[in-house]
Amino acid sequence: MSGLRARPDTMRVKRLTAVKKEAEETVSLHFSDELCSHASPGQYVMVWNPEAEEVPMSLSSMEHDGTSSVLVRQVGESTRALCGLKRGDRIGLRGPFGNGYTIHGSSPLIVAGGTGAAPLTPLAEKMASERLRPTFVLGARSEDQLVYRGRLEKLLGRDLLIATDDGSSGFKGLASEYAAKLMGRRRFDSVYVCGPELMMAAIFKEAVGMRVPIQASLERYIKCAVGLCGICAIGPFRVCKDGPVFNTEQLLAVQDEFGKKRMEPSGRAVRVDK
């Protein structure tokens, strides 16, 4: 395309190979990109609909045939623009960036809240390929908001557990409450979470109390994605480069921010309210 060899930090323009509805106001965008197809679960890409703003999105699948996808839920202007795309439309891509999850232990618990299932579903698939059997809590506000349920059921069978806030499916209540229950009943030796920050902070507290190592994928406003601009900083870390996945020790080091405050684009701190 240009004189550049494909490097993660350069922008590639790709046509969407498929757009699939995954839940209410939620689609997955599929594209073919060599670098993304080799990414690790938990890594993210900067996705640009040329009509709107470029935004960070976790990779939700990385396939052997070279295709990958991101999961997009309409929450604002940029995500609405992405959800409006059709097969054949072009997007700009930078990445994959960030560290991804590190699999360890033999009895993993995965807790996904809402679109937090995006990086955790390929993580569960990777675990399964390594002969690990994770317990997976898939949470959402209601049944029609659950994503990747079919894909996870096929993979995990009865180890997929559903939680909905309104009780329309599975456990009635927050995914974090369900996770705390499970952790009280059974000994897990590693926990992997992604979802609303308050949910993650609640599970973090639980895991620390029980001395179970945890990894959480944080979301912050990201601009450069390569560790230069500093707008995504949390404590001494840059979410774009040192994260987005942080472990227990790192999360303990940023306890005064995690689940409490984040920076808005100007660099002013605002309260984390979900």
Partner: protein, 261 residues
């Protein structure tokens, strides 16, 4: 070295604001910052931890430059860097640093209120950079930082449109180095005050090249992308080894040496 602070909070331009290009990076962040007043606490905290702070700042008028400089000076910054050369907000606030008399006036306004040394960071996007450097020196600058990013742009062949939301951005990284070296060379010819070289410093060797052209110190930015924060230590160690290996007693022995060749 802080990001550039202004009188009021700014969210900056919308993404895409950054892309890698051949030999470097293009950015048009658009001076996002929480406002100088808001940042005062952070400066004080850094000072308590004994971290030297160079506060970079900007304004949209001569008065604003003075106002922001006063806030940062009172906060206890060890030095101020007057950024009158950001290429990404030209439409909004003009680029003061392309005009010698404005550069001189802004510098004197800042010098009037600032207690610590004031560096003036210059733009390479000018016809004659030595003229601007002389203006900053007349205004009372304690040092010149050269240079800020070079104005550029990227267009995608398939999207058939500019990539950065701001259309143009600032080029940094290795591709900027030859331009920056030339600027330092010309400024060294024109002024007596020290020069801080920057623009593509990724290694000790780049740093030494800047010093040979007349820089007393260097700044490192874009190299963090590929080499991480370790790059700062690597550059310092490398300079030390170079000096020792070649029998120099210190950086001063090297500054401007290429000019004598």
């Amino acid at each position: 070295m802080t990001k550039s602070l202004g009188p009021v909070p700014r969210g900056g331009h919308r993404n895409p604001t950054f892309i890698s290009v051949e030999g470097g990076a293009l950015n048009a962040m658009g001076l996002p910052n929480p406002g100088a007043e808001y940042f005062v606490e952070s400066i004080k905290e850094l000072r308590r931890e004994k971290t030297p702070v160079v506060a970079s700042f900007f304004g949209s008028s001569i008065d604003e430059f003075g106002e922001v400089a006063g806030i940062l000076s009172d906060a206890g910054a060890d030095a101020l860097e007057l950024n009158c050369s950001c290429p990404n907000v030209e439409g909004e606030m003009g680029m003061l640093g392309v005009d010698p008399s404005n550069t001189e006036r802004a510098t004197s306004a800042v010098k009037e209120v600032a207690k610590p040394p004031v560096f003036v960071k210059l733009s390479p996007n000018v016809t004659d950079i030595s003229e601007i450097a002389r203006a900053a020196e007349r205004g009372g600058a304690d040092a010149i930082t050269a240079v800020n990013t070079l104005k550029g742009m990227a267009v995608d062949a398939y999207l058939r449109r500019p990539v950065l939301s701001n259309i143009t951005g600032g080029l940094s990284g290795p591709a900027l180095k030859p331009v920056a070296l030339r600027c330092v060379w010309e400024i060294a010819e024109a002024v007596e005050i020290p020069i801080i070289g920057c623009g593509g410093v990724s290694s000790w060797r780049d740093a030494v090249e800047f010093m040979l052209c007349g820089a007393t110190a260097v700044e490192v930015g874009t190299a963090v992308m590929e080499r991480g924060f370790e790059v700062f230590g690597e550059v310092v160690e490398g300079i030390r080894d170079y000096l020792e290996e070649n029998g120099f007693r210190g950086v001063r022995d090297v500054v401007g040496l290429a000019r004598e060749a």
